[in-house]
Subunit: 69 residues, 12 copies
């Protein structure tokens, strides 16, 4: 296990409903083009406001995946 | 669009239920006195504990709004 | 009130469902061995991914409790 | 208590004598125009030097106050 | 001089041309409603891209002004 | 000396009078239950406000002590 | 708009003339291989010195672009 | 696996030889009193100098261990 | 030289022996798919513990390489 | 005034009595060898503990002085 | 090349015109007393305001130079 | 002991072999011109890559030494 190498990709997902759904959307999209996704780390939670309400959450993630030789 | 100026206000909302509701409460209160709210950014998630359970979440936000000349 | 002393413990909780449930799990476990829990502060939100989906959230907390003389 | 909203104002006080007096001066001035001041947090301690001695301390504070609907 | 109190306002200016012009626009707008502006500090330099070119720079500032009793 | 191991405990002390007294109170309380206290580092200076005055300072410390085998 | 996913690429541009031109060079090069560039954020401004003068500025950017399914 | 709770302890190890040996010393000492050690994270690398040479390295660690109910 | 553009990739290498070997493993793997690697910067040193000893070090790197047009 | 250049020196002062006296001691010593001291900024407040009490405070400062051509 | 040692000096330059000119002024002044200047890194961009306009920019730099034995 | 004043110098050492040797080289060079070196703190670990391998490590240090009146 000691020779594993992981690469990290930074990505933002969004959702009109919740922080968790924004994370899900980012990971689902990333998994279409990257394999072996292993972990994530939230870097930022932000969003847009319309008519005095949250229009959507935007969540920044670092996603780690095993390097593909 | 290049001459827009935004002002930023820092605010904490709270909720007994969720991080998202604490954000909603902060923005709803801010929109009573500020117009043209545009974006927010979470600066801190914290809260109080009573009887070994979360009593309420407190979420710090920076809220950006278009400057009112 | 000015002579209160608080101690801080750092802890990670996890949940397959939400950030809030991971916080609840951390606090519930901490309250089994520590008394007088008073506040918490989120230090990190991360998690693991399996099959292109969030397997579980891991949330780091600092938990403050009144010092037990 | 869970629906409290706090606003945060950033302010610098100064004093020729001590860090504590600079904090006092900032809070005394803020309380002339803001009501319901609740907590403060020191963001920076600095100052000016004249003739090889501290001329005055400048202390930056974030001051939280309950939002005034 | 030791009893001066400064308040800090956070603001974003933008410009299609340069970082300096974005700073100027922020300060010019702020000076319409705030008096006694004294110093600024850049907190962030960012911007938008259109057609592979910078559409405009957005510069975040903290602006300090002498407190108005 | 090269085989010393130090453990670090995080603690908040408070005082109605000064930052230094809040540090003293934290260390005095910690020394009731921990031995071999060696150094401290201030992590945060904050406090509460009542009637437009500082009610008490709260000072966060990391306290290092030689590990007790 | 709530289902947008953005990816972030980190890049350094350089210029002998100005910070703005270094940003332009980074974005122009990135736009040759990445589509849908949307925003940038400056992470670092540095450079090299030759003969006591700035030889060139190096500016680090995070560049966000809409994820390409 | 989603209901695991980890606690974090902060500790400094030292060594006259290398960063890695200082980490080993910290973990070996911690494992005498804590069970289920799982991961570590380096927070600081420092040390003392005697006669113009490194006398010993001091390495700060956060050590995570599964919470012991 | 002033028109060079560098891209940055974030990667984690691991080793059972040392921090340096973990760096070597990360760079060796990265050089299989990226050309013109130029510099690296350590972002994090961490690892796993088994049976009270370091099982392996994990070292996070930012790796800069000249942009490939 | 726009062509002033300031140099910054980092220094730690200590005192058995207070944070302010530690700052004074650092500045008094620096002013013996540096001229035109103009401002300071506190970077760290720490200290040593003996017999469960503060033995002395150590305060880190950045000190700015006008560059001496 | 592997035995090069660099020293770092921190310095602030100012200019009434631009960020770049403030950097130039700092480096020009530093090169009067230090030799072998090699690189710089911007640590802070700030300035003073007079009559609602930027009076001058102040830019903080770390300047690296090869150590002079 | 409470009236000690320490000055801090920032320096980068390099080595083709290890992080520790880069630290040694920095301290050995510094001790040629500075006396009373007392402690160091690593601020950065980075390096250059040639032919897909580490050409040399560069380690940034803050070095503290007792002020020389």
């Amino acid at each position: 296990m000691t020779d594993h190498v992981y690469s990290v990709s930074e990505i933002y997902g969004s959702s009109g409903s919740s922080v968790e759904e924004a994370i899900d959307n980012a990971i689902a999209t990333a998994s279409e083009s990257l394999r072996n996704l292993d972990w994530f780390e939230v870097t930022e939670i932000r969003g847009h406001i319309e008519d005095g309400k949250v229009a959507h959450y935007q969540v920044g993630l670092k996603i780690g995946f095993r390097y593909q030789r």
